[in-house]
Protein backbone atom coordinates (compact mmCIF):
# COMPACT_ATOMS: atom_id res chain seq x y z
CA UNK A 1 0.00 0.00 0.00
CA UNK A 2 2.73 2.45 0.96
CA UNK A 3 4.42 1.77 -2.38
CA UNK A 4 1.26 2.80 -4.23
CA UNK A 5 1.08 5.92 -2.08
CA UNK A 6 4.69 6.99 -2.60
CA UNK A 7 4.48 6.53 -6.38
CA UNK A 8 1.20 8.45 -6.46
CA UNK A 9 2.82 11.21 -4.43
CA UNK A 10 5.78 11.25 -6.79
CA UNK A 11 3.55 11.91 -9.80
CA UNK A 12 1.90 14.77 -7.94
CA UNK A 13 5.19 16.33 -6.87
CA UNK A 14 6.49 16.16 -10.40
CA UNK A 15 3.34 17.84 -11.68
CA UNK A 16 3.39 20.63 -9.14
CA UNK A 17 7.07 21.32 -9.87
CA UNK A 18 6.69 21.58 -13.62
CA UNK A 19 5.31 25.11 -13.74
CA UNK A 20 6.10 25.66 -17.40
CA UNK A 21 4.34 22.44 -18.33
CA UNK A 22 1.21 23.35 -16.40
CA UNK A 23 0.94 26.68 -18.19
CA UNK A 24 1.74 25.13 -21.58
CA UNK A 25 -0.86 22.42 -21.17
CA UNK A 26 -3.55 25.03 -20.53
CA UNK A 27 -2.83 26.75 -23.84
CA UNK A 28 -4.57 24.28 -26.10
CA UNK A 29 -7.82 24.01 -24.10
CA UNK A 30 -7.95 27.80 -23.94
CA UNK A 31 -7.65 28.03 -27.71
CA UNK A 32 -10.51 25.60 -28.21
CA UNK A 33 -12.58 27.23 -25.54
CA UNK A 34 -12.10 30.87 -26.44
CA UNK A 35 -11.57 30.78 -30.19
CA UNK A 36 -14.00 27.99 -31.08
CA UNK A 37 -16.30 28.77 -28.20
CA UNK A 38 -16.84 32.35 -29.29
CA UNK A 39 -16.10 31.82 -32.98
CA UNK A 40 -18.70 29.14 -33.63
CA UNK A 41 -21.21 30.61 -31.23
CA UNK A 42 -23.28 32.58 -33.80
CA UNK A 43 -23.59 29.62 -36.20
CA UNK A 44 -24.48 27.25 -33.38
CA UNK A 45 -27.14 29.61 -32.08
CA UNK A 46 -28.67 30.04 -35.53
CA UNK A 47 -28.88 26.24 -35.85
CA UNK A 48 -31.02 26.27 -32.75
CA UNK A 49 -28.64 24.49 -30.35
CA UNK A 50 -28.14 27.37 -27.92
CA UNK A 51 -24.89 28.81 -26.63
CA UNK A 52 -21.83 27.03 -28.08
CA UNK A 53 -19.55 28.03 -25.21
CA UNK A 54 -21.87 26.21 -22.78
CA UNK A 55 -21.89 23.21 -25.08
CA UNK A 56 -18.17 23.01 -25.76
CA UNK A 57 -16.90 23.66 -22.21
CA UNK A 58 -17.49 20.09 -20.93
CA UNK A 59 -15.86 18.82 -24.13
CA UNK A 60 -12.76 20.94 -23.59
CA UNK A 61 -12.58 19.87 -19.95
CA UNK A 62 -12.78 16.26 -21.14
CA UNK A 63 -10.05 16.95 -23.68
CA UNK A 64 -7.63 18.29 -21.11
CA UNK A 65 -8.28 15.28 -18.88
CA UNK A 66 -7.71 12.97 -21.86
CA UNK A 67 -4.42 14.56 -22.91
CA UNK A 68 -3.10 14.88 -19.43
CA UNK A 69 -3.82 11.29 -18.48
CA UNK A 70 -2.45 9.79 -21.70
CA UNK A 71 0.73 11.84 -21.33
CA UNK A 72 1.23 10.77 -17.76
CA UNK A 73 1.03 7.16 -18.90
CA UNK A 74 3.53 7.86 -21.63
CA UNK A 75 5.73 9.40 -18.92
CA UNK A 76 6.70 5.77 -18.48
CA UNK A 77 8.79 6.19 -21.62
CA UNK A 78 10.72 9.03 -20.01
CA UNK A 79 11.23 7.02 -16.85
CA UNK A 80 12.47 4.17 -18.98
CA UNK A 81 14.95 6.40 -20.77
CA UNK A 82 16.07 8.26 -17.69
CA UNK A 83 16.35 5.13 -15.63
CA UNK A 84 13.93 5.67 -12.78
CA UNK A 85 11.73 2.86 -14.09
CA UNK A 86 14.55 0.38 -13.35
CA UNK A 87 14.69 1.58 -9.78
CA UNK A 88 11.02 0.72 -9.31
CA UNK A 89 11.18 -2.54 -11.25
CA UNK A 90 13.93 -4.13 -9.14
CA UNK A 91 12.24 -3.14 -5.89
CA UNK A 92 10.54 -5.91 -3.90
CA UNK A 93 7.10 -4.57 -4.76
CA UNK A 94 4.71 -6.26 -7.14
CA UNK A 95 4.46 -4.69 -10.54
CA UNK A 96 0.71 -4.41 -10.07
CA UNK A 97 1.25 -2.03 -7.15
CA UNK A 98 3.70 0.05 -9.17
CA UNK A 99 1.28 0.21 -12.07
CA UNK A 100 -1.63 1.19 -9.81
CA UNK A 101 0.45 3.88 -8.09
CA UNK A 102 1.45 5.38 -11.40
CA UNK A 103 -2.04 5.18 -12.87
CA UNK A 104 -3.69 6.77 -9.87
CA UNK A 105 -1.02 9.47 -9.80
CA UNK A 106 -1.53 10.21 -13.48
CA UNK A 107 -5.30 10.21 -13.05
CA UNK A 108 -5.10 12.60 -10.10
CA UNK A 109 -2.93 14.99 -12.09
CA UNK A 110 -5.39 14.78 -14.99
CA UNK A 111 -8.32 15.60 -12.72
CA UNK A 112 -6.47 18.62 -11.30
CA UNK A 113 -5.82 19.71 -14.86
CA UNK A 114 -9.51 19.24 -15.67
CA UNK A 115 -10.51 21.35 -12.66
CA UNK A 116 -8.15 24.12 -13.78
CA UNK A 117 -9.81 24.14 -17.19
CA UNK A 118 -13.22 24.14 -15.50
CA UNK A 119 -12.25 27.27 -13.60
CA UNK A 120 -10.94 28.91 -16.78
CA UNK A 121 -14.11 28.10 -18.68
CA UNK A 122 -16.21 29.53 -15.86
CA UNK A 123 -14.19 32.72 -16.05
CA UNK A 124 -14.88 32.73 -19.81
CA UNK A 125 -18.59 32.57 -19.14
CA UNK A 126 -19.46 28.87 -18.75
CA UNK A 127 -22.28 28.36 -16.25
CA UNK A 128 -23.28 24.83 -15.16
CA UNK A 129 -27.06 24.53 -15.28
CA UNK A 130 -27.23 22.34 -12.17
CA UNK A 131 -24.69 23.26 -9.52
CA UNK A 132 -25.87 20.33 -7.38
CA UNK A 133 -24.66 17.94 -10.05
CA UNK A 134 -21.12 19.35 -10.22
CA UNK A 135 -19.73 16.62 -7.89
CA UNK A 136 -21.27 14.02 -10.22
CA UNK A 137 -19.57 15.68 -13.18
CA UNK A 138 -16.37 15.43 -11.19
CA UNK A 139 -17.05 11.72 -10.88
CA UNK A 140 -17.15 11.44 -14.67
CA UNK A 141 -13.92 13.42 -14.86
CA UNK A 142 -12.29 10.88 -12.53
CA UNK A 143 -13.62 8.01 -14.64
CA UNK A 144 -12.20 9.55 -17.84
CA UNK A 145 -8.88 10.12 -16.08
CA UNK A 146 -8.60 6.51 -14.90
CA UNK A 147 -9.62 5.02 -18.27
CA UNK A 148 -7.03 6.99 -20.21
CA UNK A 149 -4.25 6.81 -17.63
CA UNK A 150 -4.59 3.05 -17.85
CA UNK A 151 -4.50 3.28 -21.64
CA UNK A 152 -1.41 5.49 -21.40
CA UNK A 153 0.36 2.98 -19.17
CA UNK A 154 -0.59 0.14 -21.52
CA UNK A 155 0.87 2.03 -24.48
CA UNK A 156 3.86 3.32 -22.53
CA UNK A 157 4.75 -0.23 -21.47
CA UNK A 158 4.66 -1.43 -25.05
CA UNK A 159 6.78 1.28 -26.67
CA UNK A 160 10.55 1.15 -26.53
CA UNK A 161 11.26 4.74 -27.49
CA UNK A 162 9.65 7.99 -28.50
CA UNK A 163 9.41 7.16 -32.18
CA UNK A 164 5.95 5.74 -31.79
CA UNK A 165 4.84 8.86 -29.98
CA UNK A 166 3.69 10.87 -33.01
CA UNK A 167 1.91 7.81 -34.29
CA UNK A 168 -0.01 7.46 -31.05
CA UNK A 169 -0.84 11.17 -31.01
CA UNK A 170 -2.12 11.33 -34.59
CA UNK A 171 -3.81 7.98 -34.90
CA UNK A 172 -5.12 7.40 -31.40
CA UNK A 173 -5.30 10.45 -29.15
CA UNK A 174 -6.51 13.01 -31.67
CA UNK A 175 -9.17 10.69 -33.15
CA UNK A 176 -10.38 9.85 -29.63
CA UNK A 177 -10.79 13.56 -29.04
CA UNK A 178 -12.38 14.48 -32.38
CA UNK A 179 -14.78 11.52 -32.36
CA UNK A 180 -15.89 12.06 -28.77
CA UNK A 181 -18.51 14.67 -29.55
CA UNK A 182 -16.49 17.16 -27.54
CA UNK A 183 -16.98 19.76 -30.24
CA UNK A 184 -20.22 18.78 -31.93
CA UNK A 185 -23.45 17.13 -30.78
CA UNK A 186 -23.66 13.38 -31.39
CA UNK A 187 -27.14 13.59 -32.88
CA UNK A 188 -28.25 13.35 -36.47
CA UNK A 189 -24.87 12.09 -37.73
CA UNK A 190 -24.47 9.71 -40.67
CA UNK A 191 -24.40 5.95 -39.90
CA UNK A 192 -20.60 5.63 -40.20
CA UNK A 193 -19.82 8.54 -37.90
CA UNK A 194 -22.53 7.41 -35.49
CA UNK A 195 -21.01 3.96 -35.36
CA UNK A 196 -17.45 5.21 -34.84
CA UNK A 197 -18.39 7.76 -32.20
CA UNK A 198 -20.19 5.03 -30.29
CA UNK A 199 -16.89 3.12 -30.08
CA UNK A 200 -15.08 6.05 -28.49
CA UNK A 201 -14.95 5.72 -24.69
CA UNK A 202 -14.37 9.45 -24.31
CA UNK A 203 -17.76 10.07 -25.97
CA UNK A 204 -19.45 8.46 -22.95
CA UNK A 205 -17.32 10.45 -20.51
CA UNK A 206 -18.07 13.78 -22.12
CA UNK A 207 -21.71 12.87 -22.58
CA UNK A 208 -21.90 12.06 -18.89
CA UNK A 209 -20.32 15.37 -17.94
CA UNK A 210 -22.69 17.21 -20.24
CA UNK A 211 -25.64 15.39 -18.72
CA UNK A 212 -24.55 16.50 -15.25
CA UNK A 213 -23.49 20.05 -16.07
CA UNK A 214 -26.00 21.03 -18.75
CA UNK A 215 -28.80 18.50 -18.37
CA UNK A 216 -28.51 17.48 -22.02
CA UNK A 217 -27.06 14.24 -23.30
CA UNK A 218 -27.05 11.84 -26.21
CA UNK A 219 -26.97 8.67 -24.10
CA UNK A 220 -28.37 7.71 -20.73
CA UNK A 221 -25.88 8.82 -18.00
CA UNK A 222 -26.11 5.37 -16.42
CA UNK A 223 -25.07 3.85 -19.73
CA UNK A 224 -22.20 6.35 -19.81
CA UNK A 225 -21.07 5.24 -16.40
CA UNK A 226 -21.41 1.54 -17.18
CA UNK A 227 -19.38 1.86 -20.39
CA UNK A 228 -16.64 3.84 -18.66
CA UNK A 229 -16.45 1.33 -15.81
CA UNK A 230 -16.26 -1.61 -18.21
CA UNK A 231 -13.68 -0.02 -20.50
CA UNK A 232 -11.70 1.17 -17.47
CA UNK A 233 -11.60 -2.34 -16.00
CA UNK A 234 -10.43 -3.82 -19.29
CA UNK A 235 -7.76 -1.16 -19.84
CA UNK A 236 -6.50 -1.47 -16.26
CA UNK A 237 -6.13 -5.21 -16.78
CA UNK A 238 -4.36 -4.72 -20.11
CA UNK A 239 -2.13 -2.00 -18.63
CA UNK A 240 -1.21 -4.18 -15.65
CA UNK A 241 -0.46 -7.11 -17.96
CA UNK A 242 1.68 -5.06 -20.34
CA UNK A 243 3.46 -3.45 -17.41
CA UNK A 244 4.25 -6.83 -15.87
CA UNK A 245 5.93 -7.84 -19.13
CA UNK A 246 8.36 -4.92 -19.32
CA UNK A 247 11.97 -5.97 -19.80
CA UNK A 248 14.72 -3.39 -19.79
Amino acid sequence: MSAIYILWLRELKRYVRSHAQIVASLGQPMLYLLVLGFGLSPVFKRAGYGDYLQFVAPGVIGMSVLFSSIFSGLGLLWDRQFGFLKETLVAPVSRLQIMIGRTLGGATVAVIQGLLVTVISMIAGFRPAHLINVPLALGFMVAIAIVFSALGVAIGSSLQDMQGFQLIMNFLVMPIYFLSGAMFPLVGLGPVLTFVTHLDPLAYGIDGMRAMLLGQSAFNPLVDLAVLAAVGAVLLAVGAYRFSKIEI
Binding site: G83, L89, V90, A91, P92, V93, S94
Partner: protein, 264 residues
Protein backbone atom coordinates in the same frame (compact mmCIF):
# COMPACT_ATOMS: atom_id res chain seq x y z
CA UNK B 1 24.84 -17.13 -2.27
CA UNK B 2 24.79 -16.67 -6.05
CA UNK B 3 24.81 -19.78 -8.17
CA UNK B 4 24.71 -19.49 -11.96
CA UNK B 5 24.57 -22.55 -14.23
CA UNK B 6 24.95 -22.48 -18.04
CA UNK B 7 23.35 -19.07 -18.24
CA UNK B 8 22.65 -17.74 -21.75
CA UNK B 9 20.82 -14.77 -23.19
CA UNK B 10 20.30 -13.98 -26.86
CA UNK B 11 18.69 -10.97 -28.45
CA UNK B 12 17.58 -12.23 -31.85
CA UNK B 13 20.65 -13.74 -33.47
CA UNK B 14 23.07 -11.96 -31.12
CA UNK B 15 24.23 -13.95 -28.12
CA UNK B 16 25.08 -11.54 -25.32
CA UNK B 17 25.77 -14.14 -22.66
CA UNK B 18 26.85 -17.60 -23.68
CA UNK B 19 26.91 -20.58 -21.32
CA UNK B 20 28.21 -18.80 -18.23
CA UNK B 21 28.56 -20.66 -14.92
CA UNK B 22 29.96 -19.38 -11.63
CA UNK B 23 29.33 -19.30 -7.94
CA UNK B 24 29.73 -16.59 -5.36
CA UNK B 25 29.92 -17.65 -1.73
CA UNK B 26 28.21 -15.83 1.11
CA UNK B 27 30.23 -12.86 2.33
CA UNK B 28 32.44 -12.88 -0.73
CA UNK B 29 33.33 -9.89 -2.92
CA UNK B 30 33.24 -11.03 -6.52
CA UNK B 31 34.44 -8.78 -9.36
CA UNK B 32 33.02 -9.42 -12.79
CA UNK B 33 35.39 -7.96 -15.36
CA UNK B 34 35.25 -7.64 -19.10
CA UNK B 35 35.59 -5.17 -21.97
CA UNK B 36 32.63 -3.06 -23.12
CA UNK B 37 29.83 -5.17 -24.54
CA UNK B 38 31.20 -8.39 -23.06
CA UNK B 39 27.92 -9.26 -21.32
CA UNK B 40 28.47 -7.90 -17.82
CA UNK B 41 25.38 -5.72 -17.62
CA UNK B 42 23.19 -8.31 -19.33
CA UNK B 43 24.28 -10.83 -16.69
CA UNK B 44 23.48 -8.39 -13.89
CA UNK B 45 20.07 -7.68 -15.43
CA UNK B 46 19.29 -11.38 -15.44
CA UNK B 47 20.49 -11.74 -11.85
CA UNK B 48 18.29 -8.82 -10.78
CA UNK B 49 15.03 -9.95 -12.48
CA UNK B 50 15.10 -7.28 -15.18
CA UNK B 51 15.66 -9.80 -17.97
CA UNK B 52 14.62 -13.40 -18.40
CA UNK B 53 17.46 -15.76 -19.33
CA UNK B 54 17.13 -17.56 -22.65
CA UNK B 55 18.43 -20.70 -20.96
CA UNK B 56 20.32 -21.82 -17.89
CA UNK B 57 19.54 -21.30 -14.23
CA UNK B 58 20.19 -18.74 -11.53
CA UNK B 59 19.87 -19.09 -7.78
CA UNK B 60 20.08 -16.17 -5.40
CA UNK B 61 20.14 -17.35 -1.82
CA UNK B 62 18.50 -20.55 -3.09
CA UNK B 63 15.76 -18.69 -5.02
CA UNK B 64 15.21 -18.55 -8.76
CA UNK B 65 14.76 -14.85 -9.63
CA UNK B 66 12.60 -15.61 -12.65
CA UNK B 67 10.00 -17.54 -10.66
CA UNK B 68 10.31 -15.96 -7.19
CA UNK B 69 10.81 -12.38 -8.32
CA UNK B 70 9.69 -10.56 -5.21
CA UNK B 71 11.39 -12.91 -2.79
CA UNK B 72 14.61 -12.57 -4.77
CA UNK B 73 14.30 -8.80 -4.99
CA UNK B 74 14.06 -8.56 -1.21
CA UNK B 75 17.52 -10.07 -0.98
CA UNK B 76 19.52 -7.77 -3.17
CA UNK B 77 20.31 -4.12 -3.69
CA UNK B 78 21.75 -2.67 -6.86
CA UNK B 79 23.63 0.37 -8.07
CA UNK B 80 23.06 0.62 -11.81
CA UNK B 81 25.63 1.54 -14.38
CA UNK B 82 23.44 4.24 -15.90
CA UNK B 83 21.37 6.78 -13.99
CA UNK B 84 18.19 5.68 -12.26
CA UNK B 85 17.33 8.70 -10.13
CA UNK B 86 14.26 10.87 -10.46
CA UNK B 87 15.60 14.29 -11.40
CA UNK B 88 12.43 16.11 -10.41
CA UNK B 89 12.65 14.87 -6.84
CA UNK B 90 15.16 16.08 -4.29
CA UNK B 91 18.01 13.94 -3.03
CA UNK B 92 16.12 13.34 0.20
CA UNK B 93 12.93 12.38 -1.65
CA UNK B 94 14.83 9.93 -3.81
CA UNK B 95 16.08 8.26 -0.64
CA UNK B 96 12.56 8.34 0.81
CA UNK B 97 10.99 6.66 -2.23
CA UNK B 98 13.68 3.99 -2.15
CA UNK B 99 13.10 3.37 1.54
CA UNK B 100 9.37 2.87 1.02
CA UNK B 101 9.85 0.61 -2.01
CA UNK B 102 12.24 -1.56 0.00
CA UNK B 103 10.06 -1.68 3.11
CA UNK B 104 12.65 0.06 5.28
CA UNK B 105 10.88 1.19 8.48
CA UNK B 106 10.39 4.97 8.39
CA UNK B 107 12.55 5.79 11.39
CA UNK B 108 15.39 3.52 10.36
CA UNK B 109 15.17 4.87 6.84
CA UNK B 110 15.48 8.47 7.97
CA UNK B 111 18.42 7.76 10.24
CA UNK B 112 20.24 5.76 7.60
CA UNK B 113 19.51 8.31 4.87
CA UNK B 114 21.03 11.02 7.02
CA UNK B 115 24.08 8.90 7.78
CA UNK B 116 24.60 7.96 4.12
CA UNK B 117 24.01 11.43 2.70
CA UNK B 118 26.57 12.74 5.20
CA UNK B 119 29.01 9.99 4.33
CA UNK B 120 28.78 10.81 0.63
CA UNK B 121 28.76 14.54 1.34
CA UNK B 122 25.35 15.30 -0.05
CA UNK B 123 23.66 16.26 3.20
CA UNK B 124 23.86 20.01 2.61
CA UNK B 125 22.21 19.64 -0.78
CA UNK B 126 19.55 17.14 0.27
CA UNK B 127 16.63 19.45 -0.49
CA UNK B 128 17.72 20.30 -4.00
CA UNK B 129 16.25 18.69 -7.07
CA UNK B 130 18.56 16.01 -8.40
CA UNK B 131 18.47 17.42 -11.92
CA UNK B 132 20.56 20.31 -10.64
CA UNK B 133 23.30 17.97 -9.41
CA UNK B 134 26.60 17.42 -11.20
CA UNK B 135 27.36 13.99 -12.65
CA UNK B 136 29.54 13.03 -9.71
CA UNK B 137 26.93 14.06 -7.18
CA UNK B 138 24.24 12.04 -8.93
CA UNK B 139 26.54 9.05 -8.91
CA UNK B 140 27.20 9.46 -5.19
CA UNK B 141 23.49 9.72 -4.52
CA UNK B 142 22.82 6.51 -6.45
CA UNK B 143 25.43 4.75 -4.39
CA UNK B 144 24.12 6.16 -1.12
CA UNK B 145 20.64 5.03 -2.12
CA UNK B 146 21.90 1.52 -2.90
CA UNK B 147 23.10 1.17 0.70
CA UNK B 148 19.85 2.40 2.26
CA UNK B 149 18.40 -1.02 2.89
CA UNK B 150 20.71 -3.77 4.04
CA UNK B 151 20.56 -6.40 1.33
CA UNK B 152 22.14 -9.83 1.49
CA UNK B 153 23.63 -9.33 -1.95
CA UNK B 154 24.80 -6.03 -3.35
CA UNK B 155 25.19 -5.58 -7.10
CA UNK B 156 27.44 -2.72 -8.15
CA UNK B 157 27.54 -2.17 -11.91
CA UNK B 158 30.53 0.08 -12.63
CA UNK B 159 29.82 2.12 -9.51
CA UNK B 160 32.96 4.24 -9.74
CA UNK B 161 32.33 5.47 -13.27
CA UNK B 162 32.77 9.24 -13.19
CA UNK B 163 33.73 9.45 -9.51
CA UNK B 164 36.74 11.36 -8.22
CA UNK B 165 39.39 9.45 -6.23
CA UNK B 166 37.99 10.74 -2.92
CA UNK B 167 34.52 9.37 -3.58
CA UNK B 168 35.98 6.15 -4.95
CA UNK B 169 37.89 5.63 -1.75
CA UNK B 170 34.84 6.43 0.32
CA UNK B 171 32.81 3.93 -1.70
CA UNK B 172 35.22 1.04 -1.49
CA UNK B 173 35.88 1.47 2.21
CA UNK B 174 32.11 1.50 2.77
CA UNK B 175 31.72 -1.61 0.63
CA UNK B 176 34.42 -3.36 2.64
CA UNK B 177 32.82 -2.21 5.87
CA UNK B 178 29.36 -3.61 5.10
CA UNK B 179 30.95 -6.72 3.67
CA UNK B 180 32.87 -7.36 6.89
CA UNK B 181 30.37 -6.16 9.48
CA UNK B 182 27.12 -7.36 7.89
CA UNK B 183 28.50 -10.15 5.70
CA UNK B 184 26.93 -8.66 2.59
CA UNK B 185 27.87 -10.55 -0.56
CA UNK B 186 29.10 -8.14 -3.22
CA UNK B 187 28.96 -8.65 -6.97
CA UNK B 188 30.65 -5.81 -8.82
CA UNK B 189 31.82 -4.81 -12.24
CA UNK B 190 34.45 -2.19 -12.95
CA UNK B 191 36.89 -1.09 -15.61
CA UNK B 192 39.49 -0.11 -13.01
CA UNK B 193 41.63 -3.21 -12.53
CA UNK B 194 43.45 -1.80 -9.51
CA UNK B 195 40.12 -1.51 -7.71
CA UNK B 196 39.20 -5.08 -8.48
CA UNK B 197 42.64 -6.23 -7.37
CA UNK B 198 42.32 -4.32 -4.10
CA UNK B 199 38.73 -5.10 -3.17
CA UNK B 200 37.70 -8.41 -4.68
CA UNK B 201 38.24 -11.81 -3.14
CA UNK B 202 37.60 -13.50 -6.45
CA UNK B 203 37.38 -12.40 -10.06
CA UNK B 204 35.61 -13.64 -13.17
CA UNK B 205 36.62 -12.40 -16.61
CA UNK B 206 33.97 -12.39 -19.34
CA UNK B 207 34.54 -11.67 -23.01
CA UNK B 208 32.18 -12.07 -25.98
CA UNK B 209 29.60 -13.49 -23.60
CA UNK B 210 31.85 -16.29 -22.36
CA UNK B 211 33.49 -16.62 -18.98
CA UNK B 212 37.17 -17.05 -19.87
CA UNK B 213 38.85 -17.05 -16.46
CA UNK B 214 37.91 -17.14 -12.82
CA UNK B 215 39.80 -17.26 -9.54
CA UNK B 216 41.51 -15.06 -6.98
CA UNK B 217 43.36 -12.04 -8.39
CA UNK B 218 46.58 -13.82 -7.50
CA UNK B 219 45.60 -16.98 -9.34
CA UNK B 220 44.62 -15.05 -12.46
CA UNK B 221 47.92 -13.20 -12.50
CA UNK B 222 49.80 -16.47 -12.07
CA UNK B 223 47.73 -18.18 -14.75
CA UNK B 224 48.65 -15.50 -17.30
CA UNK B 225 52.20 -14.99 -16.02
CA UNK B 226 51.68 -11.26 -15.53
CA UNK B 227 52.58 -8.88 -12.73
CA UNK B 228 49.42 -6.76 -12.56
CA UNK B 229 45.75 -7.51 -13.00
CA UNK B 230 45.61 -4.97 -15.82
CA UNK B 231 48.20 -6.94 -17.78
CA UNK B 232 46.44 -10.19 -16.99
CA UNK B 233 43.18 -8.68 -18.24
CA UNK B 234 44.78 -7.56 -21.50
CA UNK B 235 46.45 -10.93 -21.92
CA UNK B 236 43.09 -12.62 -21.55
CA UNK B 237 40.91 -10.31 -23.62
CA UNK B 238 43.38 -8.98 -26.21
CA UNK B 239 44.01 -5.32 -26.90
CA UNK B 240 41.46 -4.54 -29.61
CA UNK B 241 38.98 -1.84 -28.66
CA UNK B 242 35.32 -2.84 -28.54
CA UNK B 243 32.57 -0.63 -29.80
CA UNK B 244 29.00 -0.86 -28.73
CA UNK B 245 26.45 0.61 -31.07
CA UNK B 246 24.23 3.26 -29.52
CA UNK B 247 21.12 1.69 -28.05
CA UNK B 248 17.69 3.28 -28.44
CA UNK B 249 18.22 4.58 -24.92
CA UNK B 250 21.34 6.49 -25.89
CA UNK B 251 19.65 7.84 -28.95
CA UNK B 252 16.69 9.10 -27.06
CA UNK B 253 18.87 10.69 -24.41
CA UNK B 254 20.50 12.70 -27.13
CA UNK B 255 17.13 13.58 -28.56
CA UNK B 256 15.93 14.65 -25.14
CA UNK B 257 19.01 16.76 -24.52
CA UNK B 258 18.44 18.48 -27.82
CA UNK B 259 14.84 19.36 -27.08
CA UNK B 260 14.43 19.80 -23.39
CA UNK B 261 17.60 21.68 -22.55
CA UNK B 262 18.03 19.31 -19.61
CA UNK B 263 14.49 19.35 -18.27
CA UNK B 264 15.32 16.28 -16.23
Amino acid sequence: MICVRNLAKSFGSFTAVNDVSFEVAEGEIFAFLGPNGAGKTTTIKMLTTLLHPTSGSIQLDGLDPSTHQNEARKRFGIVFQDPSLDGDLTAWENMEVHGVLYHVPRKVGRARSEELLKLFELWDRRNEQVKKFSGGMKRRLEIARGFLHTPKILFLDEPTLGLDPQSRNQLWSHVKRVNESERVTVFLTTHYMDEADRVAHRIGVIDHGKLIAQGTPQAIKEQTGTASLEDAFLALTGSTIRDESASPTDQIRQFAKMWSGGRR
